[in-house]
């Protein structure tokens, strides 16, 4: 054995010894519990991986005719007063009028949107669906989280209200079926544009499935006895973007020049503190 071989052998022996030492449990150490094969159950589920963006974002998106597809011009079946406000808000939006008069804007006060039962109005932007044993987690561009328990538990009888509600789900032939209660009564039918509350006692029933390999369909029926005259059925289509790298986005980590501390629209022209000086001519 030459010098090089002896050196190589010594190197391998050292590596093996280090690995063996690393495996020796410290005093008091006990084996960590493992998922013990529970992740294997996920392999039979449909592939929801990647980021999902509104289908309409894509200029060459396929034209898909779906009954009850969500459209801001087709309002939820709101009670008369709410319907009038909804139509006024949408009209102001498309005519570039100030929305300040319609009240509370959660984002202006560093508060998250409230889930109103209809994913992609209040839980919005780019979305991601994460599978772990017994749970599916929805995330979105703004950092919201919806935790959908798929471990067989039932919905609690009377959960406290929360920003994203309390959800359970189960799978039926590749479709994730989600039921949600505990929806905040302040959740708005008009997103962050205006306050148009869902009211107490709202429920959401969602059926989420791959319509095509890269198109996800979310079919939702929301019942909200305090604000709707009948259940609201709506279908949302999302397009998969596997390669997108999400940029961090949270309201109030940065500065919104468009809304002041009272929620009113404006445009703040205060220059950044680190603005370089003008060019020397």
């Amino acid at each position: 054995m030459n010098g090089h071989s002896r050196l190589a052998l010594a190197g391998k022996a050292s590596a093996l010894l280090a690995a063996a030492i690393a495996m020796i449990p410290a005093p008091g150490w006990t084996a960590h519990p493992t998922a013990a094969g529970r992740y294997r159950a996920l392999e039979s589920l449909p592939d929801f991986s990647g980021w999902w963006v509104a289908l309409d974002f894509y200029p060459n998106a396929p034209k898909i005719e779906v009954a009850d597809r969500f459209n801001w011009f087709v309002p939820p079946p709101l009670k008369p007063e709410g319907l009038m406000t909804y139509q006024q808000v949408v009209d102001a939006m498309i005519h570039n009028r100030d929305l300040s008069q319609w009240g509370f804007k959660p984002s202006a006060f560093c508060r998250p949107y409230r889930f109103n039962g209809l994913t992609f109005i209040n839980l919005e932007g780019e979305m991601e669906f994460l599978f772990t044993p017994g749970r599916v987690t929805f995330t979105d561009e703004f950092g919201h989280l919806r935790r959908i328990y798929t471990d067989g538990r039932s919905l609690p009888a009377d959960p406290e209200e929360s920003y994203t509600g309390t959800s359970v789900g189960h799978w039926e032939n590749g479709t994730l079926i989600v039921d949600t209660i505990g929806i905040s009564h302040e959740a708005s039918w008009a997103g962050d544009w205006a306050s148009l509350p869902v009211g107490p006692g709202a429920r959401s029933h969602e059926r989420i499935s791959l319509r095509e390999p890269d198109i996800l369909q979310i079919e939702t029926v929301v019942t909200a006895p305090a604000s709707l005259t009948r259940p609201f059925r709506s279908v949302i289509l999302l397009h998969r973007d596997r390669d997108h790298v999400l940029r961090e986005f949270r309201y109030c980590t940065d500065y919104d020049r468009d809304v002041d501390e009272t929620g009113r629209q404006r445009f703040d022209l205060t220059p950044p503190a680190d603005l370089p000086p003008p060019p020397s001519s």
């Binding site: 200029p59 570039n96 932007g125 309201y251 980590t253 940065d254 020049r257 468009d258 022209l269």
Partner: protein, 154 residues
């Protein structure tokens, strides 16, 4: 100071043709209206990029525009566009507007006359273009479509 103004009929018709952008603009991604900006007017100014605020919910491009009336010889303009995820999808990155680059920026001016507005498009010295968040024009196009449909139904 170089300032040009024009009426935006052509850009609206382009937005109407690009139907995809319309629903996008009306999604909740537009978390407010564009009431601060005069979307009936598009102005062009030429200047030097001072800074890009890579920020959410809106990015801003700051521009030094030559102005002999100012003591420094420059007026400072601010142009707002979409948030970082939206603009990355439109092809922007942190080096899209290096500090010191000369550009001409088309924008919808602030209604109150202050120097700035909603970013529409930038043209670099080599003729290449960078477009901004189409929200303001798309919303306006939606409004025009809506009004036209309402007029026909009467």
């Amino acid at each position: 100071m170089t300032v040009r103004e024009r009426r935006p009929a052509a850009s609206i018709s382009k937005c109407l043709a690009a139907g995809a952008a319309l629903l996008w603009a009306l999604s909740a991604w537009a978390h407010h209206s564009y009431a601060m900006f005069d979307t009936d007017r598009t102005i062009t100014v030429t200047g030097t990029v001072a800074k890009v605020e890579w920020a959410n919910p809106h990015m801003s491009v700051w521009l030094y525009v030559p102005d002999p009336k100012q003591q420094s010889g420059y007026a400072l303009y601010a142009f707002e566009t979409g948030g970082t995820n939206m603009m990355v999808r439109m092809g922007w990155n942190k080096s899209t507007f290096p500090t010191g680059q000369k550009v001409a920026i088309d924008y919808h001016p602030l209604k109150d006359g202050r120097p700035g507005g909603a970013f529409v498009k930038a043209t670099r010295a080599d003729g290449s273009h960078v477009t901004g968040d189409p929200g303001a024009d798309s919303l306006k196009a939606l409004g025009q479509q809506h009004d036209a449909a309402a007029g026909e139904s009467k």
